[in-house]
Symmetry: C2
Subunit: 167 residues, 2 copies
DNA sequence: AGATTATGTCAGCGTTGTTGACTTAATTTT
DNA sequence: AAAATTAAGTCAACAACGCTGACATAATCT
């Protein structure tokens, strides 16, 4: 029973009846929005954006990454990366070192300053996640991780697995 | 034991040792990227973007929303909304109706075309979520929902709860 | 020697966000 | 009834961050 209207507009709300998993769709939207809002505030003061965050994050997670690897992970173009990477280098957060095997390559490393910023940006996100997990049974952690990984395209799993575990 | 280098760059990877919950931080990043990639492809053909998707989604979830309510949910400015909303109205996906109580207000409703597009955009996201949930115990659904809600700022819970449950 | 590869760069463009200022119409307050 | 406030729309300018296409350089591979 749909409530049609003279001029054809719809007054009934879209619900689970029409499309499955709507509640998780919108929770995911709100959760990710707030999850990124914390670092965004820190970045603003440095006139950096979310793009800088992502670059800085992955260079810290896997020091020595080449430009090509980074493009593959971030799925953006060389020109988009060039802009933010240049700024991160100019501000002393990242350094480039000529590849030892292949001297065409530029290996990317964080400076101490770059590491410090990466940690500062991660802190509120860690806190938010830890807080959310505290409300659950410790065993549920594996459930969350499994769910999130299953949400990623399998083609990307290799990239995730290639990041250092803990050392 | 940190591996310092002559010129001061850092070669050790950032891991759980330095910041808690790093694995979930990056899984969340990858998961959300792929989660939004599906609808993005559909939107491209219509020369719409993610902003159109969000507006269309919430107008479908709560028909009769006013412009002010939508701004509050999306947390963007009036000018940002105006552009995409105008396009959605011009293309016949959304209609505006003068508020019955307060005639200054414009209540927003989806057209049949707008509802159809919202469903089309939700389909791949529902599928992705359903697929991820299939790999878990049915009881774990509540865990995911609880975790995601806990990731949202409590100030926003009221907005989430105000959306129609199912009817 | 010639082709390919990794990176960098130039020029231009589109989407989506921002701020500030102003208008119009309707409602609320005094 | 006049004044203040509110909801919405609009104009102009701007910034961040994506994109494409084309081209340059150096190093490596065939």
């Amino acid at each position: 029973m749909k409530s049609y209207t003279p001029d054809g507009h719809i007054e009934t709300a879209l619900t689970e009846q029409h499309a499955k998993e709507l509640d998780i769709i919108e929770l995911f939207f709100f959760a990710y929005r707030d999850f990124t809002a914390d670092p965004d505030m820190i970045l603003e003061k440095l006139t950096f954006g979310r793009a800088h965050h992502r670059v800085l994050y992955f260079v810290n997670r896997k020091p020595g990454m080449t430009v090509a690897e980074l493009l593959e992970v971030l799925k953006i173009t060389k020109q988009s990366l060039a802009r933010v990477l240049k700024q991160l280098i100019d501000t002393g957060h990242i350094v480039q070192i000529q590849g030892p095997r292949d001297r065409r390559q530029r290996e990317l490393y964080p400076t101490h300053q770059g590491r410090a910023l990466a940690l500062e940006l991660a802190a509120p996100q860690s806190r938010r996640i830890a807080n959310a997990l505290e409300q659950l049974d410790p065993s549920d952690r594996a459930v969350i991780e499994h769910f999130l990984k299953a949400m990623v395209n399998p083609a990307q799993w290799q990239q995730i697995d290639s990041l250092p575990k803990s050392g």
